[in-house]
Point group: C2
Chain length 125, copies 2
DNA sequence: ATTTGACTTCGAGTAAACTCTAACGAATAT
DNA sequence: ATATTCGTTAGAGTTTACTCGAAGTCAAAT
């Protein structure tokens, strides 16, 4: 049982963001007698999942789609599977690009270091 | 020597985007007698580099910063190196997150597949 | 001579994902 | 009893990176 700011702290997001996710119907918490939001373990788990998808560039709209399918029940498993596989492919492409760029950068960084070392030497002579 | 639409085609971006990059002082092409943009080999090379940084989530502002330093000349090599190293770290973090998420997803995908297979079996009985 | 097509500028418009503001209510602290 | 703290809402504002539209120029094709 968490308040909005507690769960925000736990997840490293702002309460504003959590209200936004609620408006987008991605995670709709319970309410207490005063109308305050109450997040439970399952909300926490779902939010953690959502944030992980977000960190890997899945757009909010697709996350909402997946959430809708999940809430619709068992007959949407095939659709959900397709969505996850699509995102898996997106991730694999990103891994590709990032790996290539990392190589390019470490080469460039190496050249820069050598250039700087050469300049330092010159100064000492 | 390329026109704006030629280089846009070569790089897979729109002429609009190239004009925007010029406004942001990331790549400023030459002009011909009619005032039309003329991109040369070096502009192409720089744009390809910029696009690769963009694909790995470097914000336009940082790309512009790097470009400025580059244009300022040799005495900015240390600053440029620092910038590249910072982005390299960002990439390594992304690789981490993506790898972890890819594992998470392939597990989830596996469960979904098994669940669907189980349902199919049931139907056959 | 005029139409076509590609270019130009400047400024406005768009989409995504927040992020903030203002005005209010309830519970706790002094 | 009052001040503070934390929550609420609806709606407006912000940032990033484009993306588009309108009005105009210029050279080549018909």
């Amino acid at each position: 049982m968490y308040t909005i700011s507690e769960i925000a702290d736990l997840l490293g997001v702002s309460p504003h963001t959590l209200r936004y996710y609620e408006k987008e119907k991605i995670v709709v918490p319970d309410r207490d007698a005063n109308g305050n939001r109450v997040y439970r373990k399952e909300h926490f788990t779902w939010l953690r999942f959502v944030i992980q998808l977000k960190q890997t560039q899945m757009p909010i709209a697709k996350i909402r789609k997946y959430t809708e399918l999940y809430l619709e029940g068992d007959h949407t498993t095939t659709a959900r599977l397709a969505l996850l596989e699509e995102h898996q492919r997106a991730i694999q492409e990103q891994l590709h690009t990032l790996t290539a760029t990392e190589k390019m950068l470490s080469d460039k960084i190496e050249s820069y270091k050598q250039y700087i070392a050469r300049m330092k030497n010159k100064q000492l002579t």
